[in-house]
Structures are given as structure tokens and as C-alpha cells.
Symmetry: C2
DNA sequence: GTCTATATTCGGATAGAC
DNA sequence: GTCTATCCGAATATAGAC
């Protein structure tokens, strides 16, 4: 891995662990093993490097979600698989956590990957739920878009609860609660 | 409002807006109109002042939730009222946002009010859902604790989605999606 | 491309006068 | 209780040598 690459990966880790305001150029240099001059040679400054890191994390989030969405099973099963996918619940969502960073949200350029990623996710989930509804897997009375928003929120909120409790199973409980609501037989 | 009080209130605002790492003593002094010496007279330092602010915000969160929980209507209606309660979705949850703050979570003293608040909320919601289930308002197949976790997650995640989208209605969509799942007639 | 030196401001506080 | 002075290291770079 070359220097530029190590800088990006180290920044991704630090943004995940400490957020944007909590991540200093010095910490990035230290973790990546790159020197001051090296960092400023490859990137114009902290925002530039953070953008590269955030863009990659956003892409990775989409890829791993898409892997679940295009996996085996019915539409509803694929949504369930996405929700139950292995996650490091205590670390939180590398993209979602940026939403709490004032300096990220204040800068349209930094904000864009975050905004786009969640818009994509909501849209993708809504499509799958619409498909499930057409197939009779899901109650026709449910609004796919609103239901999709609820599920995306359960994931993000599940991270918050897990971190608050200090226990990953708080995330699992939220997801199972949501799936209990989503998949219970409607004609019972 | 005396100086000590202004310091606490200003700190609450700043923690809400910028988080713990993003809030400097200087910024607190500036917003509160208190001087350096004044701040260090009333509090031993930033963590001490933050603890006072966080404790108050946590109490406020409980109080406002409790107001909805003990309001009029059936158990399920009170849960719905809590979810639909007016919120400044773009600002996020003043307590939940602290879970993203590494320096808060690393300090057991600072972490405690956050942890306790969400434990209380989950417990309270689970109790109401159990009540709803006994009253036949809620499907007997649903686990009250897991369902409660899902609802608490929808609220916290709803804030994340609203901030990501830059639109408060993303929060409302998540809540309505969750309520759609929770309250749809089971015998349809 | 990487290193070292230097610069400015901020963060987080202590000390002591008033 | 509040103010001002002072301190030391971190944050975020820029400049120029190698």
C-alpha cells in the first residue's frame, strides 16, 4: 500500500472512531506513518483528505448493502438479510456518524456523499419493499417509502442504542423488533 | 439567570450543536458571557461542566418523554404520541448525539447519564407495549422489549436520516413508517 | 515525494490580583 | 466571584531544503 493509500485508510479509521472534529492531521500522519510534508503533498489539507476517505466509506457502505439486496431469497428475505448482516454495532455506522459532525454538515462538499448515500439506501429499500408488496409478501396497506425510512432508521438508531448501552445486542434487539413488526403474519 | 446557570445552559446548547470534542471552554465562556476565571470558579473544568449540562439534558429528555407516556389515551396511543411529538429533527437528540463522542463514551462518569437515559426509555416503552398487548391493542406475538428497542431506534435513527437529508420530514417518514407497522390491523 | 523548520491560533488550564 | 496574565501543548498549516 503506498503512502497516499495509507493516508486515506488511516483517515477512514479515525473518522469512524473520532469523527471529523476529533481527527487531527497529526493523528492521521501518526497512524499512517506518513510525515507532515508527505500528507500535504498528496492532499491540500484535512478537508480534502477527509473527502477522499468519506467518499470511499460511502461507496463501501453501498457495496455491502447492495450485496445483501441482490443476494438469494425473496425481496423481504433480502431486506431481512441486510438488517441482520454482521455489523460492528459498537463502532457505529462510518457514514451515519458523520451526520453528527457540524463541520461536515456545514460544508456542502463534505456533506454530499453522506446525503447521497442515505438517499440511495432509502430508495433501494423502498424498491424492495414495493416488490415484496406486489408479491403479496407484505401488507398492501403499508407505504413502501415510509416503511423503508423506518428500517433505515432502525439500523442507524440501533447503533446509537448499542453504543449507549455499551452492548452490541442492543442493536440486534432493535433489528429483531423491527423484523417482528415487518414479517409477522398479517392474517393471524 | 446567574452565571453558573448561564454556563450550564450555554454548554447544553454547544454540546447539542457541536458535541463534546467540538465544544471549547472559550466557546462556552463567549456564549454565556462569563469570563475565564468565572467558569473555573464554578466548575473544575470542561468535563465537570459538561457533566452538569448532560445530566440536565438527560433529565429533560426523560421528563418530556414521561409527559407523553402519562398523557391521555390507550397505551398504544401514548406511545404514538411520544413518537409523533414535536421535535427539532434537524438538531438531533441532545442525549443521543453524545453516543458519537469518543471522549464522552471513554469516561464512565460522562457516559453514565447517557447510558441510564436510554435504559430508562427502553424499559418505559417496553412496559407500555406490554400493557398494550394485554389490552389486546397489540399483537400477542410481538416481544415488547424488542419492539420497544425498535421504536427507540427509529427515533434516534430518524434524527440521523433527517440530518443526512437536511430535511425534517425524513424523521417524520421514519416515524410514520414505524407506526404503520405497529398499528396496522392484525386481522386484515 | 519526503523531511525539517517555522508560524499562528486555539484548547484547556493555573495563579494571583481585585 | 470575577478579571487579567501567563503557560504549554495541539491544531493546521506554509516554506524551503533534500
Amino acid at each position: 500500500m503506498d503512502t497516499r493509500e495509507r493516508l486515506i485508510e488511516s483517515t477512514r479509521e479515525l473518522l469512524w472512531e473520532r469523527g471529523y472534529v476529533g481527527t487531527s492531521p497529526k493523528a492521521i500522519q501518526h497512524r499512517s506513518g506518513a510525515g507532515q510534508g508527505s500528507m500535504y503533498h498528496h492532499f491540500t489539507g484535512k478537508p480534502d483528505l477527509a473527502l477522499a476517505a468519506m467518499t470511499r466509506s460511502a461507496q463501501e457502505m453501498r457495496d455491502s448493502a447492495e450485496a445483501a439486496f441482490t443476494g438469494p431469497g425473496t425481496a423481504l428475505q433480502r431486506v431481512s438479510a441486510y438488517l441482520r448482516r454482521e455489523r460492528d454495532a459498537l463502532k457505529g455506522c462510518p457514514v451515519g456518524r458523520l451526520t453528527q459532525d457540524p463541520d461536515v454538515m456545514a460544508d456542502p462538499v463534505l456533506r454530499k456523499p453522506v446525503e447521497e448515500t442515505f438517499a440511495w439506501l432509502a430508495d433501494r429499500l423502498a424498491g424492495l419493499l414495493a416488490e415484496a408488496r406486489e408479491d403479496g409478501e407484505l401488507d398492501a396497506a403499508l407505504d413502501p417509502a415510509a416503511t423503508a425510512a423506518a428500517l433505515a432508521a432502525v439500523v442507524q438508531g440501533g447503533y446509537v442504542l448499542a453504543r449507549a448501552a455499551g452492548r452490541p445486542d442492543a442493536y440486534a434487539a432493535a433489528v429483531e423488533g423491527a423484523l417482528g413488526l415487518l414479517t409477522r403474519p398479517k392474517g393471524d
